[in-house]
């Protein structure tokens, strides 16, 4: 069982961004994708989630043998796919609690109601472990949140929705070291044999706290190098130009 991406090509407004990306994340593993700006990392995240601005022109994605690309955005979510956004969106007027409740309710079989008492209990305890103030339950989703608060909120949503595969798109950007640790603890606590992660990051720093099983390097819409966690350190040391040079040589 895995999230298997095969020869994925995708474009936006006629510009091809993903140019034959292949990658497989077996359940239970954490993979990291690193790469320079403009390599297509965030596009990959949006294509997997089903953003309508992007057209897939070739290739496919199987999530536990289900055709992910054939599903609507919300179906993908309910089937177990989660994206932690690089820029979480503000939703005025909708409280965090109501939003999470609606998202969980959408996963219930028709005619069944989410138990409100259990829900609040679970949400409160998860907020506490992520260091999120209880006041946030009543505040509108991400509205007026600091960058760090938004990212913590993404992790809160992830823990509540308990996805099978989660993609974290530059969750570390804009985080101070304390917030980074909290976010990493949240992810580590969710690590399990039944769950796969794809961590998209520009910097190696996050991977000090979330130790990946596999590191991929992405450039120009493709995976150009794959290795163990030490690859991240090598990249940090030598910079992305090193990969580019290797590519040119190859």
């Amino acid at each position: 069982m895995s999230l298997a991406i095969t020869d994925l090509h995708a474009e936006i407004d006629g510009n091809e961004i993903l140019k034959g990306l292949t990658l497989e994340i077996p359940k239970g593993e954490i993979h990291a994708i690193m790469g320079p700006n403009g390599s297509g990392k965030s596009t990959l995240a949006k294509v997997l989630a089903g953003h309508e601005d992007y057209q897939v022109t070739e290739g496919g994605v199987l999530m536990d043998n289900q055709d992910l690309l054939a599903m609507e955005v919300d179906e993908r979510s309910r089937a177990g796919f989660f994206l932690a956004f690089q820029y979480p969106v503000e939703i005025p007027g909708v409280s965090n609690a109501n939003f999470l409740r609606a998202a969980l309710q959408a996963r219930m079989p028709a005619g069944e109601e989410l138990d409100a008492v259990d829900f609040y209990k679970e949400m409160r305890s998860r907020m506490e472990s992520l260091g999120i103030d209880q006041k946030f339950t009543g505040r509108a989703v991400n509205e007026g949140f600091s960058g760090g608060e938004k990212k913590r909120n993404e992790i809160l949503q992830m823990t509540m929705l308990a996805p099978t595969y989660a993609v974290l798109d530059e969750t570390d950007s804009g985080l101070d070291i304390d917030a980074l640790k909290v976010v990493a603890e949240g992810v580590n606590a969710m690590r399990s044999p039944g769950r796969g992660f794809l961590i998209i990051t520009h910097y190696q720093r996050l991977l000090d706290y979330i130790v990946p099983d596999v590191v991929h390097v992405m450039a120009d819409g493709r995976i150009v190098k794959t290795g163990g966690k030490e690859l991240a350190l090598e990249l940090e040391e030598k910079g992305y130009d090193w990969v580019r040079e290797e590519l040119v040589v190859a």
């Binding site: 989630a49 089903g50 953003h51 309508e52 609507e72 955005v73 919300d74 993908r76 979510s77 309910r78 989660f82 994206l83 956004f85 979480p88 969106v89 503000e90 939703i91 005025p92 007027g93 909708v94 409280s95 109501n98 939003f99 609606a102 998202a103 959408a106 996963r107 028709a110 509108a140 949503q157 929705l161």
Partner: protein, 473 residues
């Protein structure tokens, strides 16, 4: 139940909630198409009205014919109303029944599918149910009637209670107020007449339900509510019509009178189908320390023009308009409020929230008048608009005329948008597009919905959900 039959039931229930069903017509009285003096004579004869009413109607017809369409400020769409293709009076000639068992089967089934008898048992003090031009059912609970509360239709009001009815009828909203108040005055039928005696506080709401069942028809109910000194009342109205091929006209006049220290709250949850022209005039007079409050929810219709008003006639009077308007594709909600301060130390409050979806259009028009010779008047106006997708339109036309410097007025307006990125974000968390839109809309109106009696807030949420489902197709 298998998936297919479940879907069929759900669709049937939704159609019921939206009122999209009808029964074959079998009217004993039909004034025919078009409007002339003979239409009015026909209505007066069928209803057996006194001469003063006939004279009142005919005078109104003259005013209606003379007044131009207000297209110099309002939408050109008004020109699409063809007054010659409307039937102005349709009824089966039956008196309203006091028991649902006596109501004809098709009418009874209509109201059962709309949930009226059920609501009546659960939380209402009395119900009037109008089917086309006349009430089919009208009943007020014994305990309320014993307190001297009168709750009848307008015909019965003007015939049986002329001494209370006539002094106020047409006084809050003069016939010549606008073209459609004149039209209503010419051909009105149905609507409620309510009188609450001094000191009587009616604990549960009275409700009227207005149902259009016939195509090419105009419904012109006329409501007059008088709440005497120190008395209190909450009145609620609901309205629906099936989706017909041709347009339908609904043009009501509602006059409210709150005597000294009285409190009157008028709640509307309107859910017209998208071919209804809904052109309604609503106004209340608040006497000393009295309060008139309009809570107005406008969902559906092709065009709604409605600006509930309060004239604060004596010191200490308070007026309030709380309104929610939802304009979906092809709909125009042109709504607002009129606050006329006519005495010292009067207070008015307007909170308006509009939602435009797709190509839906929402317009807010507000009028606040505080003349120079008064002191201590306060007005607070807040209007917020929510746009769902970029094609939506919203316009705000506030007209605040405050003279003199011993007053406090405040006006706040905001426009926010539910963007594709917000919908995408919510969908990524597992909500369908319709659920995501509903959640945004409900979040936007949430603080106003809390003002509603619980039963109605649940109903309103359900209507918003259905509207959003419909808008995604």
């Amino acid at each position: 139940m298998n998936e297919e039959s479940r879907t069929v039931t759900t669709i049937a229930q939704e159609k019921d909630t939206l009122g999209d069903f009808s029964f074959p017509e079998h009217h004993k009285f039909d004034a025919g198409y078009g409007l002339s003096e003979s239409t009015i004579d026909y209505i007066c004869d069928v209803k057996g009205e006194p001469d003063w009413v006939r004279a009142f109607r005919k005078k109104a017809l003259g005013i209606f014919e003379k007044k131009p369409m207000p297209t110099h400020w309002a939408t050109q769409d008004l020109e699409n109303i063809d007054f010659d293709k409307i039937r102005y009076y349709l009824s089966d000639g039956e008196k309203p029944k006091r028991s649902w068992d006596e109501v004809p089967d098709d009418v009874k089934e209509t109201f059962e599918r709309l949930g009226i008898p059920e609501q009546e048992r659960a939380f209402l003090a009395g119900v009037e149910a109008q089917f086309d031009s006349e009430a089919a059912y009208s009943n007020v609970k014994d305990a309320v009637a014993e307190q001297g509360v009168i709750f009848v239709n307008s015909t019965e009001g003007l015939k049986e209670h002329e001494e209370i009815f006539r002094p106020w009828f047409g006084k809050v909203i003069p016939t010549s107020d606008n073209k459609f108040s004149a039209l209503n005055s010419a051909v009105f039928s149905g609507g409620s007449f309510i009188y609450v005696p001094p000191g009587v506080k009616v604990a549960h709401p009275l409700q009227a339900y207005f149902r259009i069942n016939s195509e090419n028809f105009g419904q012109f109910e006329r409501t007059l509510i008088i709440v005497d000194e120190g008395a209190e009342l909450t009145y609620m109205e609901g309205c629906t019509a099936p989706k017909f091929e041709t347009s339908t006209l609904h043009s009501a006049v509602v006059e409210l009178v709150a005597m000294k220290d009285a409190k009157l709250q008028y709640i509307t949850v309107q859910n017209w189908s998208s071919n209804v022209f809904n052109l309604v005039t609503k106004r209340g007079i608040a006497h000393q320390n009295a309060e008139v409050r309009w809570i107005d929810c406008n969902i559906g219709s092709r065009l709604t023009m409605k600006y509930p008003g309060v004239v604060m006639k004596e010191p200490g009077a308070r007026g309030e308009v709380v309104s929610i308007a939802l304009a979906n594709d092809g709909q125009h909600q042109d709504t607002g409020a009129k606050m006329v301060h006519a005495a010292d130390n009067t207070t008015s409050n307007v909170v308006s929230k509009s939602i435009s979806v797709g190509e839906g259009r929402a317009t807010y028009r507000g009028l606040v008048q505080i003349p120079k010779h008064l002191k201590g008047c306060v007005n607070n106006t807040e209007c917020d608009a929510l746009l769902i997708n970029s094609k939506s339109k919203t316009e705000t036309y506030p007209a605040i005329s405050v003279k003199g410097n011993k007053h406090a007025t405040q006006h706040e307006a905001s426009v926010s948008q539910v963007s594709e990125e917000q919908i995408f974000y919510m969908q990524q968390r597992g909500l369908s597009e319709a659920e995501a839109m509903s959640l945004s809309v409900n979040g936007f109106v949430n603080d106003l919905v809390r003002e509603f009696p619980m039963e109605y807030s649940v109903e309103l949420k359900r209507l918003i959900d259905l509207e959003m489902e419909g808008s995604v197709g």
